[in-house]
Symmetry: C2
Subunit: 367 residues, 2 copies
């Protein structure tokens, strides 16, 4: 990929209201990042926003330069060095910032995650499991958090481990794990979706978790309370078709409530590395179909007229509605409906949840 | 049932080399306990034993009288007060000695068993589960052992619990649970297969465990090391078509190794009473077909001649062989093979394992 193209990709994903899914829609719809950048302000205006911040070329150039100085590579999802399995998920980051030894991505990856306030037994078990799976040839992905995550990384520093960051590469969280991160870069990698200088906020962690599961063949949850971040990772894993493993614990231990729930829902019970290997080794060599990388077909730009736009907007509200229903009820083509939704999304007025859309609850630009 | 018949049943089951399965074969084969008692010495002689001890009438009378003095009822498997589900297992005791409030058998029964050296958490969980299942209308069966068993009984003294003894009613093990046993008799029952005065030996406990699972719709294993008695109960439960439940625990806790193994093998994971109720409530009302009570059809007494007996004996050795193979290889009828096997069994020379038979390893009477 040319540096010029990489710059366009970076500008597009760093522009307001452009997430991984919108990015893909735009590029597919307009045939490339450059063309999408050009129509962005007009699309947002039609969607109801008075203005949209398009990432300036100079900012993107500065980011590229700064990442290079830090020894970080910005890799697009079309490049061979982009992690193969991650590219196959629906909302794969268009670009990831990678640091360390990228050879780790050529190995099968298993994620090990769990409670920040893990028990000593939980941490000991995570270490044992990470070491044994490392010895069996797996790279270990986790979130660099306190507790289980750190234990899993520590035990796989030598064999190869991947730390998935919620913020930028220069904003390590928690700060006391900066040393662990440095140590793991010799045989492993740190990966970030967010730009340099990005301080991770609470909502960045669940978003980050989809990358942990997306990288891996399967996710092992070692200890997890109910409603914890680890269970979000497990849910992502299910949605992405990854294997879900859980470590059992006493019913009287709140840190085992989440994992025991997962087991009741059908997760594979893990008490030793062999339980993971038995499930993952048969699927290790399986290739993901390249088609999964790009499910939307490039389509004709169907320009919605003012009437169509009004009809579709009138059908939307705070309750989620499916694309199929919108097409049927509006009498427009799917292409037109998609265009109107894209405009609303760029204006920050649309929320996507699963296969449905709804008007965003927050304050909106007036029309 | 007439007292006279009960006496014959008691004499037959208390005679040497007559276990529950042999008892049933004999009664089916000879049309009743009285007839079986008469042929017993001759059958054993043909099987190769120089003599067999047939329980004298006076001994059986003394046992009946002693049990009555202790407030214990001897109930045969043909009587209505015999526990319904227990009667349906292959090797149901022909007679059980019951003490306490027999009304408990009219309720659905769930067994809760586990380690003798249970953790405090395990005992606490067993108590909670027994109390909640008791509140839900279940009687709780267990083995009166230290640890999990005692916790399960204690928590269900008020709602109704069943202690299954490995020895006689006057030989309570462990002795310090005599008080617990007295307490539970007000709303519950103690059940024993062995005669009064019988001191439980190591091998009586596994044998007793088939009664715990046989009484119940399902068995919950709370804590269990590998190769523990609780796992024997779980295996019996599977063989008897009972539901098997297991409580998860940390992979680093040896007391959870057995239960975690059961979960890997498909046992239902239990962290609260609702997990048990969800499975058992739909099957609570299901009746066992009376046919299951007596799968062998009464058959013609096919008397084997000396040649047939020699041919069949020659086919037997320490390695297990199936009845089908014996019939095929000996050229005899199934009825003749069964008769020869019965003779050998009564002579103490045969071991049955599952559907196969083998010559017993121990010292034998000369021919």
């Amino acid at each position: 990929m040319l540096d010029e193209e990489r710059l366009d990709w970076l500008r597009l994903i760093r522009s307001d209201n452009v997430g991984p899914r919108t990015f893909r829609s735009l590029v597919n719809h307009y045939g490339g990042a450059r063309a999408a950048l050009e129509v962005l302000p007009e699309l947002a205006r039609r969607g109801g926003a008075s203005r949209i911040r398009v990432c300036p070329r100079a900012d993107a150039e500065r980011e590229l330069e700064a990442t290079r100085r830090l020894g970080v590579q910005l890799v697009t999802s079309f490049e061979a060095t982009y992690p193969q399995r991650l590219a196959a998920i629906d909302d794969a980051p268009p670009l990831v910032a990678l640091r360390g030894d990228l050879a780790v991505f050529s190995r099968p990856i298993v994620a090990i995650v769990g409670s920040r306030n893990a028990s000593a037994a939980g941490q000991k078990f995570a270490e044992r499991l990470a070491r044994d799976l490392g010895d069996a040839g797996f790279a270990i992905a986790s979130g660099l958090a306190r507790g289980i995550d750190a234990a899993a990384h520590r035990a796989s520093v030598a064999s190869g481990t991947i730390a998935v960051l919620a913020g930028g590469h220069d904003r390590i969280y928690p700060p006391e794990h900066a040393g662990l991160l440095d140590a793991l870069l010799a045989n492993g990698t740190a990966i970030a979706e967010m730009p340099l200088g990005w301080e991770p906020r609470a909502r960045d962690f669940p978003r980050r978790n989809r990358i942990i599961s997306g990288l891996a063949l399967g996710v092992v949850i070692v200890e997890a309370a109910r409603r914890s971040g680890s269970l979000i990772t497990a849910r992502f894993a299910l949605e992405q078709g990854r294997e879900v493993f859980a470590v059992p614990g006493s019913p009287l231990d709140p840190r085992a409530e989440g994992t025991n729930d997962l087991l009741k829902q059908g997760a594979t019970l893990v008490t030793e590395a062999a339980d993971v290997l038995t499930v993952l080794q048969p699927i290790m060599g399986r290739q993901y179909a390249p088609a999964a990388r790009d499910p939307d077909q490039p389509q004709q730009t169907d320009e919605p007229d003012r009437d169509a736009r009004s009809r579709i907007l009138a059908l939307l509200g705070p309750a989620p509605v499916s694309l199929d229903d919108l097409v049927r009820l509006s009498g427009s083509t799917a292409a037109i409906v998609r265009t109107v939704l894209l405009e609303l999304e760029l204006a920050g007025r649309l929320e996507r949840r699963g296969g449905t859309v709804a008007l965003a609850a927050g304050p909106q630009d007036g029309r």
